[in-house]
Symmetry: C2
Subunit: 414 residues, 2 copies
Amino acid sequence: MKQSHLFTQTRKEVSQEEVAKNAQLLIRGGYIHKEMAGVYSLLPLGFKVLNKIKKIVNEEMEQLDSEEIIMSTIQVKETWEKTDRWSDEKVDVWFKSQLKNGTDIGFGWSHEEPITEMMKSHIKSYQNLPRYVHQFQNKLRNETRAKSGVMRCREFVMKDMYSYCTNEEEHMAFYNKTIDAYMNVYRRVGLGDITFVTSASGGVFTDKFSHEFQTICDAGEDVIYVHKDGKLAMNEEIFNEETLAKMGKKKEEFEAKKAAEVGNIFTFGTGKCEQLGLYFTDKDGVSKPVYLGSYGIGITRLMGVITEVFADDKGMVWPEAVAPFQMHLVSLCREDADIAKANEIYEKLKAKGVEVLYDDREGLRPGEKFADADLLGMPTRVVVSPKTIAAGVVEVTNRKTGETTMQPLESFLA
Amino acid sequence: MKQSHLFTQTRKEVSQEEVAKNAQLLIRGGYIHKEMAGVYSLLPLGFKVLNKIKKIVNEEMEQLDSEEIIMSTIQVKETWEKTDRWSDEKVDVWFKSQLKNGTDIGFGWSHEEPITEMMKSHIKSYQNLPRYVHQFQNKLRNETRAKSGVMRCREFVMKDMYSYCTNEEEHMAFYNKTIDAYMNVYRRVGLGDITFVTSASGGVFTDKFSHEFQTICDAGEDVIYVHKDGKLAMNEEIFNEETLAKMGKKKEEFEAKKAAEVGNIFTFGTGKCEQLGLYFTDKDGVSKPVYLGSYGIGITRLMGVITEVFADDKGMVWPEAVAPFQMHLVSLCREDADIAKANEIYEKLKAKGVEVLYDDREGLRPGEKFADADLLGMPTRVVVSPKTIAAGVVEVTNRKTGETTMQPLESFLA
């Protein structure tokens, strides 16, 4: 894409109200637009990052045989009353409104209830089980504090998946497979080495057990205790003598780290389906409640964590898998013949299927273009200038390492 | 996809409350789930149709050089107050709620205002213009009546595009190009012959002119007057002596038809940008307001209209371009050897890249499977049975025409 066609402009400053580094950088780069605290719109570059992350997550969910759907944002009061999660005392993040005729409605902050209610039309017998469904849905949550940029929003994109199983064994087998799928996601977006599965208490979501996925991140709101072997970590809530004794580990072997939750999974056992009336007829003819699991990844949140973890003082540094473009081709050419040469390189890269952002903008100083390239954070920067053209080379810089090499144009294009 | 893996089940009946044919069929086929009047969730088959329509629309918008974004659902009161569209007296479809601190928020029923407000960060000079942006966004509208199934919803997916231009000429050139792009969309989804561009009054949206795209459809809420040449149609509001005289046409040459609006486009002139403060510096150094156009297609609505227009008394009849699967492979096999043969045909079709739904379900009578295939409405039904296997053929039926032919298996697979 030609940068001259991109409607968004970069900027040097953002409003002082925006205290989160991720939002500061994403706004400065024109990736997002702030509507209000905790509410952001996604502009073309941000939308591309979102879609890259969604694609990776979707592929992993499809590997689990999950089917994609999209539930409504508008929620039916009666469904949530069945599980006692309608009242503001029980769930304090509801946005609510009313139809013209006075009917109360809510706006979806989670979807266990409506999906389970919907499943009653489709699950009757053991032959209809197990079933897995997921969606990428715009959740609305009336958060009191929203100061972490896209890491904690009042409106955000979440991948939520739900599993419906006949018994505990089937349920747990899927639950454990999901842990692997989630770790695949974090590995693929570049966070594999610093992301840990931790056991958590669960809170409002469940009366049974749950796990969190925590990424070491200075901007995170949690603290985890990471074992010196780098493979095990524990949530603060359960980091105590009792748990350590059970695991045969010593307190001194762990180090406290700030971390951001990038996913969480819950088991509801059969409780939720009993409340909502989702039963199936088993092989023995007996009616039994279905086992429910719930599996979430905040997609926009993940985008925020990736920004925080990799950014440096010059701007964003996107891992290849989620970068809006793989390459930022920066032209410093001013003469027609040179510009034609730069255009030609751009066209050849496009023809080869390279995702390339082409800074063809006129009238900017090299320093301004370099600052923008650093801020926007594509993995590879390629500079074409009168000098490189004369020498038959391009200047290739790795955004992450800063390493620069001159590459012969021919071999670069090959 | 194997039908045994599809979690949705078909059904013979729907609640009597559901009066719209499109919703009745889509619910019976398991394409959608009704949450409440005017609020539907999209299940796997419905989600696939939605994505096919979105892809076609998106391709046409990209041809217009529009950039894709996604704006927030949560709306800022102050932005809408600037154009006097916040109050319920002025706009009667708002859903509203409040943040914990008492701040009023709205839920997006349209996005001219926030997109224009956002553009103020990115459009400063004539060099930043023209610009076109679009999104596929979940609109929320507090409709009083919602009895037309997915054709008029309280929550629905809309493609909305906005154009920002420097002057009227540039603006009108784009406006007219959009009419062609929209007609391409309707042609590609199979509605080209029965869809007309009509001039409309505009209502709440604009103080200037606008056009609608109307598809002849018995379930439509509008009436249009179609000229006997089949190429011209007029909205009811402007079908009068004055307009006819201007066009040099006679009343008798037109026939009244029920129609459904499948798109609408508006010009706001410079009015909206003046209210919101979106100005640019022109070549002559003078600050001028930007010309705004707004262009909408209801994606879920279009799905409803396609359902209504093509369905017959047996069920849905999808045009190829939007069908969730091109082919419905129905196996009537019961013996292992035959089932293996049917599986083999399925695998070969998949390997060839055919989008195929494979009815591999066991224990159903042929009549039940045929009824489901008719209800689900894939363009081509292919039956594999012990008889066809013995004869080395498959039975191929066109869902639309009902025409059935026996095709040698080998040539069918080639």
